[in-house]
Subunit: 226 residues, 2 copies
DNA sequence: CAACTATTCAAGCGATTCATTGAACTACTC
DNA sequence: GAGTAGTTCAATGAATCGCTTGAATAGTTG
């Protein structure tokens, strides 16, 4: 057999990537960066961690090649180094969801009871978007909407959902989406709308999955609505 | 913001999968199981590790849900729990190859200089298989061939390549493949054939990638060739 | 039943790696 | 030069690592 030590070293090399995603905090960072680039400070804020600690995690991801940086002034923006990293993260999430028994319990503890909320999957939504009988709300922060969104979606950050009900055309079904299958914003939006008597559903996953499936996206930023 | 502790716990749940693949030895196991199920003893042999130690790694993968077991007599067979695990492994490998600087050096140390060997990619090979002007050799152990192989391929385990040259029809190009992009068998086969003056190429990746791309496969075991 | 095979389990090993902190340092802007 | 953003460093204790050894267990065979 060929050199055992060399083979072990090669596979240890692959494992470097594994080790990079073997931390909950780093998984959160990847999930966040799947929405678009972020500065260190923004990431630290989102994770509720110190900047120093966040920077360490980012360095770890950088060494493993999962992220790249861009400097703009004295701010450094991190983003995923390729689409393949998104796919890696999606695969990891799916495998965990399918096979880690505990995950269901953890998801329930974080997201609450989702079973009462209507959902719609990517392909169904794509079909209904074509026929035009649906209003799609992007309830992520507006910066994420600006970096890319489902074609035809309106940007209504979660905090504004309650206040902007009158903008919704009547008679159309409302679908809300956010960052991914484990993002709370869309759930919250659907609950708010439901309480006001508006029939709404949540897209089963989020924008990155929509984009990965090559469904129609847009990067246009519409001028402010009145 | 929603419960930070619950969110952290959820992402730590995802990280369980990351931790499972954060070991070179476990990566080797996954790579091996991508070819089909194996008993503990077989896996231990392939890794050149003790059975007890291998069993521990397998338990780790089992807890993370990446593998499942099947009992047959007093032997226990492990296999990947779903296709998604294969995809996770493929994504991990690709990300490492693209971004971990050291990986190229490690691969060279294990595989030697590959640059002199002709290669062919999946789609090219699929095209040439249709037109029938190519002989495809599966140089993996025959048990792996039996578990599934490229439709039309001959099983010629690497150890036999040198002895079975006369079986090759003249005038056709020979393509050898094995377990994946980092498997040495196909390289070795091409080198042997080249030395005998037979023009041969190596498939860039291996059987699992072929199958994942939904290219034609077969599970038929041809009766022994004279 | 006893002997045997395949696998798992429990305990223990040293070594490494972990996440996190505050303070010092670098790089850039105004 | 003051201020801001980020990295780096040193240091912390805690946790986890991979692996070994030897005993326990499940299933098969004579």
């Amino acid at each position: 057999m060929a050199d055992r030590a060399a083979k072990d070293a090669l596979y240890d090399g692959f494992a470097v990537v594994g080790r990079a995603v073997a931390s909950g905090r780093r998984a959160e960072i990847i999930d966040l960066l799947a929405q678009g680039e972020r500065s260190v400070e923004e990431i630290a804020g989102e994770l509720a961690q110190s900047v120093a600690n966040t920077s360490q995690h980012l360095q770890h991801l950088l060494r493993a090649g999962l992220v790249v940086t861009r400097r703009d002034g004295n701010r450094i923006y991190y983003s995923l180094s390729s689409k393949r990293v998104s796919e890696l993260w999606a695969a990891m999430r799916d495998v965990a969801a399918a096979h880690v028994a505990e995950l269901e319990r953890l998801a329930h503890a974080y997201l609450g009871d989702r079973t009462q909320l209507d959902t719609i999957d990517r392909d169904q939504l794509a079909k209904r978007l074509k026929s035009g009988d649906v209003v799609v709300l992007d309830v992520r922060p507006s910066a994420e909407y600006d970096a890319g969104h489902i074609a035809g979606a309106l940007s209504v950050p979660i905090a504004e959902v309650g206040k902007r009900l009158r903008e919704l055309p009547e008679g159309k079904q409302v679908v809300a989406y956010c960052r991914g299958p484990y993002c709370v914003y869309a759930d919250e939006a659907v609950r708010v709308l439901r309480k006001r008597g508006i029939r709404a559903a949540r897209l089963e996953d989020g924008y990155p999955e929509w984009e990965a499936a090559r469904l129609p996206v847009s990067r246009e930023i519409p001028s402010a609505v009145s």
